[in-house]
């Protein structure tokens, strides 16, 4: 699913530098990315998502070399094949949970909303336990409910790759476990690949492999 070779990235010369000589993540694998703050975890995720372009090296997602794609192609690939989950949930306050879940279809010119999407929406909501919360606004939800909604939004397009950046970072211990269980459950149901950045080593158990960023960055922290 993911193949990284000789990835070389820096925001500007003399600043933080990230170098990954080789990284392979098989389809359906669960990869945890750990490291200190500023070690480049989020940067690596952004490069995998096609949001950032490396200075050198190859990043291939589902056999597509991201460096060979245009910005537009990367966006299309991102919105249709990659689901993103953020530490701060990043739900839009003025949209209901339902509309937040359908956001990718509203902001994309390539995705088409149809009955399948509606079916998928209802199923995701049921499976993640937020079916009763669909008409509420984010400020009416608890932290855990918000993150579950964010997980549903990331999965609504049936992506093959989930990139989660500290999805449990803002949750209390009980919710951390619950949300992680939901996330892993959905990843399994969708047969997706999961790359999750986390500070919390207690959550590493279910993961197939762990990538420690200490090995891959240099220069002053960002």
């Amino acid at each position: 699913m993911i193949c990284v070779q000789n990835l070389d990235f820096s925001y500007s010369p003399g600043t933080f530098q990230l170098f990954v000589p080789r990284l392979d993540v098989a389809s359906g694998d669960l990869l945890a990315v750990v490291g200190a703050s500023g070690s480049g975890k989020t940067t690596l995720l952004n490069i995998m998502a096609g949001i950032l372009a490396p200075n050198a090296g190859m990043v291939s997602i589902a056999d597509s070399d991201l460096s060979a794609l245009t910005d537009r192609q990367r966006r299309h690939m991102r919105i249709s094949q990659i689901g993103l989950i953020f530490q701060g949930f990043e739900l839009l306050e003025y949209l209901t949970v339902r509309d937040n879940l359908l956001l990718p279809y509203r902001i994309s010119a390539v995705l088409e909303m149809n009955d399948d999407v509606e079916t998928r929406l209802e199923r995701l909501a049921e499976e993640t336990g937020i079916a009763d919360l669909m008409m509420r606004f984010p400020d009416e939800l608890s932290q855990g409910e918000r993150q579950r909604a964010a997980i549903c939004r990331a999965l609504i397009t049936s992506p093959s790759l989930i990139l989660a950046d500290e999805p449990t970072g803002n949750l209390d211990p009980d919710n951390k476990q619950r949300v992680l269980r939901v996330l892993l459950d959905q990843v399994a149901r969708h047969s997706a690949t999961l790359v999750m950045v986390t500070h919390d080593h207690d959550l590493l158990g279910p993961f197939d492999s762990v990538l420690d960023m200490r090995e891959y960055h240099g220069g002053p922290p960002i």
């Binding site: 990043e90 003025y94 990718p104 509203r106 902001i107 994309s108």
Partner: protein, 396 residues
């Protein structure tokens, strides 16, 4: 496009107070100059129409504007009176029709307009309830004066005395209302029309009282010399004209000398109008002739200059308001930075996000235009009443 409009509407609906304030502010900025233009255009059109429909006006030398206000808008001022003899003088020339106007008295806030039947034909005033004037002591009310006073045919109104304490001033006369006029959208709607002779009675030039020749009236006789009597101040004048006392009403002095505020002259044709104008243009004459359309045009030119200043002020305020609105939008976008970043990270194109934000702005503008439009529709629908109120409130 549906999704873009959907997202824009959702945002505006969620932050409804902010949206409402923006729409209100922009609506006001759009409405103000439009309504000002409408009121001024409507008003100037009405002023011009009434002036253009009045060919010539004769009055005593003095302010032409004051003469116009008296003649067209029944504003009683301090004009010196004309003599009624001018009416016959004009008719004898056979150059046009002379319509007398005596505007000096009031029933509450409404002017009493003494005139002749020709005024009603001239202004195409039609009766909607009751009948036309027939005799002195009767009154016919304009649509709005009747409504404001709550008067119907058969009721009476009483003229307002000059002052309560001036014993030498005019005394109130009770007028019998015999008819109400159809609305015209002009100052005629606010008038109380009477025979010019009735206005002379109100002013004391004519009156009715008991027959002084009768023995019972001896207490009112100051001096008797054969058939010539001098009455004293105890003679009580009748305060209304009735079928029983009408025969006792009379005038003192010659009608030719009785006063008028103004005379509307309707020339027979263009040439007659020029001849009439020339006849009374002598600066030494005790009578002056005025073309209402010229006077009103001069007056409106001044109004239009003021309009330019007002529009400039509104424009300045409008620009400031729109700049503030633009700042609000700009700050709003700044505050939504993380939301925009999220959408881009999920995979939205910058162009699409720009279109979403732009659509929000356009929807606010569209709503503002709609609200301003509704307000203009209301002003248009109620414009006549609004302008009539302005005329009434401003006595213009």
């Amino acid at each position: 496009m549906k999704s873009i409009i959907f997202l824009a509407l959702r945002y505006l609906a969620y932050y409804r107070w902010k949206t409402g304030v923006l729409v209100a502010a922009i609506s006001v900025i759009l409405f103000l100059p439009l309504s000002l233009e409408y009121v001024l255009d409507h008003g100037t059109e009405r002023l011009r129409a009434r002036a253009q429909a009045t060919p010539l006006v004769l009055g005593a030398p003095g302010s032409a504007i004051e003469l116009m206000l008296s003649t067209l808008y029944f504003e009683s001022g301090n004009l010196a009176p004309l003599k009624y003899a001018l009416i016959d003088e004009i008719h004898e020339t056979m150059l046009g029709q002379a319509i007398p106007l005596q505007v000096k008295y009031r029933v509450g806030d409404f002017p009493v307009v003494g005139t002749s039947p020709d005024y009603f034909d001239f202004r195409d005033l039609k009766i909607t309830n009751g009948r036309r004037l027939a005799l002195a002591g009767e009154a016919v009310l304009g649509a709005l004066s009747a409504k404001e006073l709550g008067i119907s045919p058969g009721d009476s109104v009483i003229t307002t005395p000059d002052t309560v304490f001036d014993v030498t001033g005019t005394y109130p006369l009770k007028l019998k209302v015999v008819g109400l006029l159809q609305p015209t959208g002009t100052q005629d709607d606010y008038a109380v029309f009477v025979d010019v002779k009735t206005s002379w009675i109100i002013g004391g030039t004519g009156h009715g009282h008991e027959d002084l020749a009768r023995p019972e009236a001896s207490g009112s006789v100051l001096k008797r010399n054969g058939k010539d009597l001098v009455a004293n101040a105890s003679v009580a004048a009748f305060r209304e004209v009735t079928p029983d006392n009408m025969a006792d009403f009379h005038f003192h002095g010659g009608v030719a000398d009785f006063p008028l505020s103004a005379i509307i002259v309707v020339p027979r044709d263009v040439k007659a109008g020029v001849l009439l104008e020339g006849r009374y243009q002598n600066p030494n004459s005790s009578v002056r002739v005025v073309l209402p359309s010229v006077v009103i045009d001069n007056l409106l030119n001044t109004v239009l200059i003021v309009r330019q200043y007002v529009l400039a002020a509104i424009t300045f305020v409008g620009v400031a308001t729109l700049a503030t609105v633009a700042l609000v939008f700009s700050l709003s976008i700044q505050l939504r930075r993380s939301e925009i970043t999220t959408m881009m990270r999920i995979g939205a194109a910058p162009m699409r996000i720009g279109v979403i934000l732009g659509t929000e702005i356009l929807l606010v503008l569209a709503a503002s235009v709609f609200v301003a439009g509704i307000a203009m529709v209301v002003v248009n629908a109620w414009g006549d009443a609004l302008f009539g109120w302005i005329l009434m409130a401003g006595n213009l």
